[in-house]
Amino acid sequence: MSFSKLARETTHSFSKLARETTQRFVDNDLTPMGHGRMLRKEDPRFIRGKGRFIDDLQLPGMLHLAILRAPIAHGRIVSVDVSAAEAHPKVKLVVTGAMLAERGLAWMPTLSNDMQAVLATDKVRFQGQEVAFVVAEDRYAARDALELIDVEYEQLPAVVNVRAALDPSSPVIRDDLEGKTDNHCFDWETGDKAATDAVFARADVVVRQDMVYPRVHPAPLETCGAVADYDAVDGTLTLWSTTQAPHAHRTLYAVVAGLPEHNIRVISPDIGGGFGNKVPIYPGYICAIVGSLLTGKPVKWTEDRAENLTSTAFARDYIMHGEIAATRDGKILAIRTNVLADHGAFNGVAAPTKYPAGFFGVFTGSYDIQAAYCTMTAVFTNKAPGGVAYSCSFRITEAVYLVERLVDCLADELKMDPVELRLKNLLRPEQFPYTTKTGWVYDSGNYEPTLREALRIADYAALRREQEDKRARGELMGIGVSFFTEAVGAGPRKDMDILGLGMADGAELRVHPTGTAVLRVSCQTQGQGHETTFAQIVAEEIGIPPADIKVVHGDTDQTPFGLGTYGSRSTAVSGAAAALVARKVRDKARLIASAMLEVSVADLQWDKGYFHVAGDPAKSVTIQDVAMRAHGAGDLPEGIEGGLEAQICYNPENLTNPHGAYICVVDVDPGTAVVTVRRFIAVDDCGVRINPMIIEGQVHGGLTDGVGMALMEILAFDEGGNCLGGSLMDYLIPTALEVPDWETGFTVTPSPHHPIGAKGVGESATVGSPPAVVNAVLDALKPYGLRHVDMPLTPSRLWEAMNGNPQPPI
């Protein structure tokens, strides 16, 4: 028996044994190859409590870091006295902004090319800002020592309201920027003003509505944290951190800290939810690195919930004025909007460089209109920086909310059914690829069947009859509809980069001699199930069962470069990379197979998992046979290198455009103004579906976010700039009691440019659901003559609106 055959047989029986063992553990009786409902490969560790999250890490000699934060929103630092903290017996290190400044590390770039203080040197600019840090032997001692640091502030007036911030008399927050004399952050516009104004001027009907998308927080269940381990001997830094973009972070650390990039390894282990919150680099990560550099020990930083809510990246915070123009019979003609954007103390927006307002430009929604125009002014205030995409592709949530509320306001004005109005204006399938009036190309869509499917599941007509009966009895039932188009999968790199790093994703696939494989991807999972989905993509392309494909991610030393997981870009970009790298491997396998079968490549047929001679299926080799041959003894065809592996970097041609139709049914208690979401129907079209179970889960999660934002989530501030949402007692997140059992459906419009026709889906529901909920509540409140109430629709806010006294949330 030849060595290779022996090796193959033994490893085959090994892998059979291994597979049986995993199967016993996994209890996985549903493992279809490729696309299909397959149980998740990551679950066995999580259900045993064997996940490996940042705070689970214990390294020998590890120290603990805690951060002292500003108790006030705006103030000059007069003095910082750390002597008592330094004297604490368990304290190893105390660092202030002044000490960082000596090393040139007091400031770091944000993802939008602004500068943010790592530790404040001159002023504090928001409540919760980092002022000093302590490294101590255990986490309790580190916190004790914070109490011993004495900081004297000269309090300055806090600038909380965006309009007040623009007043010339307002105190200047960013006096660190040379020549800055106001709180203006940037202006931005899109669309054609003249054309839009012309359409508005001759429209039969114009409806105007002010609306606020309040500041909210992604609040993943795991807060942010890091473990930094600097090895002074070989000059390498290993940083485990809660990051959704390990490669981009590594490059930024190299630039900020001046460490050579090849000596930095960023590991993003299991992450307890991200939702955009873990895209930015936070001062805490830098503090942990500095702590480890200065002590020579591994240093762990885990923020508490108050720190997470008050200092890490928020989302939304747009004050929008919207206008919609239409004909009397309900043909939408144009949309115009003006936005005031609160960016907090530093511009920390996480969006491609050319898009300071993210993808807000898609505010024309899913409708066939003639013109659109938007102006925006962004402002600095004494609030935490951020502006991340909380489960959406860069500000699309705000855009979809604006247009979907405006359409409902128009329906109200025209006394038209909101479904009828939408059906009349949706883009038609023959219009795709469609270029919007603000220049966005929607790759594909077939909207009407999606909306009709939602109507069918909901039994819309019956719901309207039920509502009529209830209204006659004085009960408040509402039906809300929304339709959205997402734009996900950033790049393409010609248009999209983050701080100069192109938004393309690498992938590498190695097939081992025995026919099992390792896929290395640049994106990273925070619960999306990449270890499963990506194995399925490769399985479909190359015929190796998903169980035999390991997906490696979240470690810059182990994976090719790419921009990470956010904005629903994983399947759209890295998923495409996975499919294409598998095809590249298959192409090489084909050449080897042709030699093995002694036929020309043209005479070979591929049949998921094996090549056979055309017309003679019995003459075949499996992909596993080819793998062994590629590594084994014996000659390979002329010009073919040994091994069976490939690497690519995928640059998407365009964004992918999932869409969906959502219907929400609510009951409002007329006596308490409590809203109950009774039903929620979500029909999503995310192109070709890989794992329907995972897709459904992603939709469920997003719908819950949407109900949260519509009904309860808000980061509010008092006049002094104190954050009123600093705990989960104040920042409300839906529990199982506030959400219904979701009803989902789907249609499939493949992306024409994605290699497997897939589109992103992780955030569609967060984008599409808030307007459906708000539209439903306002529909319920028709008898009160209300056209709009701002989120969150808490009982007290709704009660005031029902009693003729609606309050803006901020």
Partner: protein
């Protein structure tokens, strides 16, 4: 101070500070990191464990208070290499995504099934209402618990009570 308790059937004794929370005792002193921590205010339930058979939030119990008592954590669910049906239910019905809330959810759900072997959907929702899941939207957690209940009653008919393929 010295504290002795039984954790997952094993007796442990450690020297601890009086103020040490049970959640940190389990995680930092016993390296049982399956029990998570997610908030400052006892709202999230990521830390749920059993104390003498009842679910408690381990961030709200001092290690010293658990002295002389029995603690069970997620690591104690699997017995003799066999997963608990609640663990299998979560896998089958996609009751987890990031997995951070999962240990707490599992402990609460196991306790529910022990006192009520066939809970209704509202009863399941009520039982887990002290816990936050930011990923799943809860419906699949409810199904996971129903799956386990059916499994234990011997009435489970299909592998999946979730979405069909």
């Amino acid at each position: 101070m010295q504290v002795t308790m039984t954790v997952n059937g094993e007796q442990v004794t450690r020297d601890v500070e009086g103020r040490l929370l049970l959640v940190h005792f389990l995680r930092d002193h016993l390296a049982l990191t399956g029990t998570h921590w997610g908030c400052d205010t006892s709202n999230c339930g990521a830390c749920a464990v059993w104390l003498d058979g009842e679910p408690v939030k381990a961030c709200t119990v001092l290690a010293a208070m658990a002295g002389g008592h029995e603690v069970r954590t997620v690591e104690g669910l699997e017995q003799f290499g066999e997963l608990d049906s609640i663990q299998r239910g979560f896998m089958h019905c996609h009751g987890l995504q990031c997995g951070f809330c999962t240990p707490g959810m599992l402990m609460t759900a196991r306790a529910l099934l022990d006192r009520n072997p066939s809970p209704s959907e509202p009863e399941i929702r009520e039982a887990i209402s002290g816990q936050i899941c930011r990923c799943t939207g809860y419906a699949s957690i409810v199904r996971s618990v129903q799956w386990a209940a059916a499994e234990e009653a011997g009435t489970r008919t299909s592998a999946d009570v979730g979405s069909p393929p």
